[in-house]
Symmetry: C2
Subunit: 230 residues, 2 copies
Amino acid sequence: MKAFREFSADELRFVEQFKIAEQRFEPGQTVLVEGEKSPYLYTVLSGWAFKYKMLEDGRRQIINYALPGDLLGLQSAMSEPMQHSVEAVSETTLCVFAKDKVWDLYKEHYALGFDITWIAAHEKAILAEFLVSVGQRTASERIAFLLLLLFRRARSVGLVRGGMLELPLTQEHFADTIGFSLVHTNKRLRRLKRAGAFAWVGQTFTMLDEKSLQEQAGDSCSVPLKRPFI
Amino acid sequence: MKAFREFSADELRFVEQFKIAEQRFEPGQTVLVEGEKSPYLYTVLSGWAFKYKMLEDGRRQIINYALPGDLLGLQSAMSEPMQHSVEAVSETTLCVFAKDKVWDLYKEHYALGFDITWIAAHEKAILAEFLVSVGQRTASERIAFLLLLLFRRARSVGLVRGGMLELPLTQEHFADTIGFSLVHTNKRLRRLKRAGAFAWVGQTFTMLDEKSLQEQAGDSCSVPLKRPFI
DNA sequence: CGTTACCTTGAATCTCCTCAATACACGTGG
DNA sequence: CCACGTGTATTGAGGAGATTCAAGGTAACG
């Protein structure tokens, strides 16, 4: 849980009493709902979740994925209603914090406050990357880019062993992330598979040629991956 | 410049010595470059700017617009290289801060640190809205949505007088924001104009029927607009 | 008066969407 | 054990939507 930055003894003590509980969510279960205020702030301990927004007619856009170490509910921790919903993909364990102590965190442990800002800025960078992808890249590029991004993020938190990764997402998740229909996503994904830079059978993703995949993504996947906090 | 939150006397004093200078940029001038580190942190005092990323082959995605009150260069203020470039649209005046004092800000004025996090979280919300737009909405919806968003943000900082707004953007900016070609953007924009919810002649945008435009945007334009800091 | 920047429009082509059908794995209940 | 439903993956066909290419128009500016 604290594989990111070395805390001081003081900070450790604070974080420990800041933590309320751990909570488990089943696949498909909703963690947070757009428009509601949550009294809690979460971090992911294990599992995959995703943030999304829906339009009235059912269209869904996945905003970002949450892997171990990521924050959930920062807006609501700042007394704003949630701007998106969050759903668990796999079985997911979250660490629950009391949002009413966030203020104390800034007051008494400014370094932690700085870290939270850093995380928010970092997530902005990821959203910007997604935006470039959805706005400018072709279907194949978007898929390659998303696979690459997820693989690298997963690797950076130790989820990749021997080039293999347990990837619990469906093609529908992919479609709703890259902004194409499920059918079209499927067709382009099949083509990419045949190109051979990766294998994806069942829930097991295997990276075979990362450099090649990066070329198919139109290069540039430049998301920084280290993270300082919690 | 401080139309957002009431500062304490202490905070005011800090912000004033935190501020280094004011700097003016001409239309088209580049403020920050992706990949570089800037020793400064900026806020917009007047004018319009935009944040964007480019792909190698020249495709450009506009990430967000910066209006008076917005922060520029937060990542670089946290010792990270810039994740996007920034360019001035109109003549723009920026307030320049020393990034090496950001740490002091968190240490001695935690409320300001909290505000910065708030701003970052708020911009995440805007990026998420853009992502939904580019990923899910039709061309017409995207244009209507963007017009609505810009109009409301401009209004919230006092740039709208009598339903009229000086809008210095070109259709190319629009195209690169919503993820369509310039030609197609033009055709759909003309149609929207004929629908009559707004007028846009030269650089003058006039809102005629905000509710109607919101309907054409597929409703929901739910971006919060108040802002606490600087 | 020529250049530049921006807006506008048509035609041909290609991408992507929708509809529809099939296939497979899984779990459940008869 | 098998029939059945459900969720996911796959593929084809036809049509809507977007792209590119190309051409023309206007206004501003030196």
